[in-house]
Structure formats: C-alpha cells, structure tokens
C-alpha cells in the first residue's frame, strides 16, 4: 500500500474506532473504570485523556515490539505477556516524567495513570491491531481512535449520570445497575453509526 492509501485507511480506521467499532460500547472493554469513574464530567475527562495518550503510545510500542521482536523469533503467542509488561513499564515511566516536568498535569492526570495499567481496553486495542494485521500508520490511527472513542463514551456517560444525580431511580437499580442499562442503550445508539463510511 502506498503511504497515501495507508493514511486514508488510518483515518477511516480512526473514525471507525470512535463511532462504529467503539471499543467500550461494541466490545465492552474497560468497563471497570467506566462504571466507577463516570460520576463527574471533569474526572471522566481526566481519565479519558490519560487513556487516549496511553492507548496511542502503547499501541505503537507494542506494534514495534511485536513486529521486530516476536514475529522474527516466532514467539507471537507470547504477545499477551509482552504487551502487559510494556504497558506497565510505559505507564510507570510516564508517571515519573509527568511528575518531574509538569506537576500541574500530574495533579490532573497522575492519579489516573496507575488505574490505566490494568485497563483491559488498553491491552484490547493492542491485541486487535495484531489480529487485524494493521500496518504501522493504521495502528497509530487505530490507537488514537480507540482512545478517543473511549473518551467519548465515558464523557457521555458522565454527562448523563450528572443529570441522573437528581433523578428518582428505583432503589434496586441505583449505581452500577442503571449505569449498565444506560451503557447498553448507548451501545444500541452507536450501532446506528454502522455503515456510515460505506
């Protein structure tokens, strides 16, 4: 594929990852922080931005590690362990750097970074890109799109839940119950995007 064609595919993949193949609403990955940190739009945004950043960077790192270490040695089946180690080390490293050079950013994002290490959406994105055989440029688009899609989903959920704060919800459904129902309805709505790009 030429570079231009790859860039176009990357853009389409990015769009698809946000809307039609949303990693949270279509694959239900990363549900744990999605239900627990979606009470306020402000914190949801902080977590979402951290996910976008980590997802994009780890997808790139993992693509390189897979392509240039695991594939030549025929050790593809080791990708789970490899990806997890890389994600954990990367998050640690980023936390240290942010703490050192941008205390302000650290106070805004820092508390979310350790949470993200164990977010399965991050690992999921890295595994999908392998299964789907993406090239490097498409992987960048996919990682970014998946992160943005997750951000969009958690922000919408937080927006809805802020309004729900004063609503009268049946006692048995309060908290995670109503959150899961809303997530289901949002997923249905997102199915409406299917086929948008032909």
């Amino acid at each position: 594929m030429s570079i231009n064609a790859q860039l176009w595919t990357a853009a389409v993949t990015c769009f698809a990852a946000i809307f039609t193949n949303n990693i949270l609403l279509m694959y239900f990955l990363g549900m744990c922080p999605f239900t627990s940190v979606s009470r306020e739009v402000k914190t949801a945004f902080g977590l979402g931005v951290a996910v976008v950043f980590v997802m994009t960077c780890t997808a790139i790192l993992n693509w390189v590690a897979y392509r240039y270490i695991l594939v030549p040695l025929n050790l593809e089946f080791f990708r789970f362990i490899m990806f997890i180690i890389i994600i954990a080390a990367f998050v640690q490293f980023v936390e240290m750097v942010i703490d050192r050079y941008s205390p302000k950013l650290y106070y805004a994002l820092g508390i979310f970074l350790p949470l993200i290490t164990v977010n399965c959406a991050i690992l999921g994105a890295s595994l999908f890109m392998i299964i789907r055989d993406y090239t490097f440029i498409v992987t960048v688009g996919y990682g970014l799109g998946s992160g943005l899609g997750w951000l969009l989903a958690i922000m919408s959920m937080a927006g809805i839940r802020q309004r729900l704060a004063h609503a009268r919800i049946p006692r048995g459904l309060d908290g995670p119950g109503i959150t899961l129902i809303i997530a289901g309805l949002m997923a249905l709505a997102f199915i409406g995007f299917t086929g948008v790009l032909g």
Binding site: A65, I69, L70, L73, N74, L75, F78, I81, M82, I85, I86, A89, Q92, F93, M96, V97, D99, R100, P103, K104, Y107
Partner: protein, 366 residues
Amino acid sequence: MLTVLLSVLIVSSVSAGLALVLVVADRFVANYGECTITINEQKKLKVQGGKNVLAALTEEKLFIPSACGGRGTCGYCKVRATEGAGPVLPTETPFLTPKEIEDNVRLSCQIKIRNDLKIEIPEELLAVKEYEAVCSRITDLTYDMKHFHFELRDPPTIDFVPGQYIQLLCPQYKGNREEVYRAYSVASDPADKTIIDLIIRRVPNGICTTWCFDFLKEGDTVRFNGPYGEFRLSQTDAPMIWVAGASGMAPFVSLLYQMRNERITRPTTYFFGGNKVKDMFYLDRMRAFEKELPNFRFVPVVAAPDEGEQWDGERGLVTQALERADADLSGHEGYLCGSPGMIDAAIKVMNQLGIPNERIFYDKFE
C-alpha cells in the same frame, strides 16, 4: 526445547531492559537534586528533593505536629508555604479553610520537594525536640486509666508550658505494623524538668493506648517529641472555670502545679465529670491542692452513680452542675479539656452563663 529457552530469554531480557529504563529514569528523571528549605527567612536546610516536607523536616529533627504520620488524614501538619510549593492538592482542601488557602497554609506532608522552598512555621516549633525516656512507674488510677511516669534520658531536661502536650511514639507490636505518634497532655510539675507524667485512658482498640496498657512495662525506654500546643493560662487576673473529665484532667494537674509554684491566686473552680463513681480519681490530690491554693475549689460530678455506690457529691452531667451553679460568670474565663462532644456542650452552657467565646480556651482530644 529451543522455543522454551528462547521465549524465556526474550521475555526476561525485555523485562530486564524495561526495568533498566525505569531505574535509569528513577535515577535521572525523578532525581530532584539537593533543595534548600528556608524556614522563617532565617534557617536554611539542605535536603534531598523528592520526598515530602514533613518527612524532610523530621529527618532534620524539626518536628511538626502530625498524628497520622504523613498520610494526609489528620490535618495537623500545617505550615505556611510562601514560595515553591506548587498548587494546593485535592488531598489538602478538606483540611484547609478558605482563609488558610489564601494565606498559603498547606499540609507539609503533601508538599513534595521539587525545588527550593520557603516555609514559615511557628517559632516555638523550632524548640520542639525528640526525647528518649524511661518509663519508671505505672500506676492504676481507675479500671481504664493509668498514670505513666517517665524519667528523661536524652536530652535530660524538657521545658514546657503547663497545658502543652507531647507526641508519644508507639512502636510496632503484635497487632500493629507501623509506628505512629499519639498526642498526650503533660500532667507533671513544670518545675521538675527531668520527668514527664502522662494520664492515659484506654481506648478500645486504640493503637497507642493498647500498647501503653498491654505492652509497656516499667523500665522500658520510650521516645516522644514535643512540647506542642497553645492551651495555657492566660496572662490576666480573671477568675476561672475549668471543666474536664477523665484523662482531660492531665493538663490541669500541670496548671495546678504552676499556680502553686508561681503563687497564682486567681479564683478557680474545677468541675471534674465522670460517669460512675469508679471513674473518679485523684480526689485526695485535688483536696490537697485546695489546701495549698486558697482560691481553688474542686467539684467532682458523677453523672449516674450505680446503686450501692457511695457518693455524696454533685450528680448529673458536668454541664448541668455548671448550670446549677447559676452564677453570673461574665467576668470569668473558661478552660476545657476532653472529648469534642463534651467541649461543645460546655461552651454552649458557658456562653449562656455570660462567658464569650474569646475567653474560652480548650484542648479537644480527638
């Protein structure tokens, strides 16, 4: 076979490589170098950056009061940070009033040292020292209260203002995995600078009181730092009303010694409350003080004596005894020591009897 070896090798070397990157990053990125903390515009401390201010000051033998040991849960370790402390963290805001935030007051355990800092701490905290002492006598006062007598070793003497407290270090023991400091008021004669007396009441499941009651033995060495606190006699001649129950008596014992030593003859009435007769202690000692101090009156009050218990003194809550006295107390000062609930109730009654808030002094045992 080859695959197994190869895979182990690859995973280990990748992990080792990443670990190396993290170690290098920790060495260079997280290395904040040597930073200078300027205290009250005069004293300069050179410390290694990266840790929090409270820990750095403690290492330099400068003790800021802290009950939780730097976990940001007690809110005691406040200092004014005038330069270089960064923004107020969400972990601090619950402990700071809007006025304090405006005044740059911060929790010293939450400020990470990233650069040179300027802080201001009360001058008297600079006099706080760490002490080593030997517990030479433990006496039972009631079924759940003990009196602990400590002889200082290093440094050999302490200067404190009666009413102040010290922070006793509770070491690790079976059932407690970390060292904690707990505050106790000093109950000894300020003229005798070589000893410290503490009156401690057993708190069910309390970390430090359990240690004091079940583990501390006569002859053991303990560590504490201090003195701290603003609770003390005012520099006036106003008559005083004291209210305290149980271990709240500790600072008042020290105040009584001070009044005896300095021949202070301010009229003083001390309401000492307890639930049952078995909660009462030091009654003889207080009678002795009554003889030595002509204007001192001691009023023990028992809330609900059990049937069969001999009690001919006042009955009811201390606050009720205070109300019953029904005097115009408008010229008086109020001194309170004990649980927050008792103090808040007593302040209300004192207000009704004509003592305004600015003449009520208290030390809440929280």
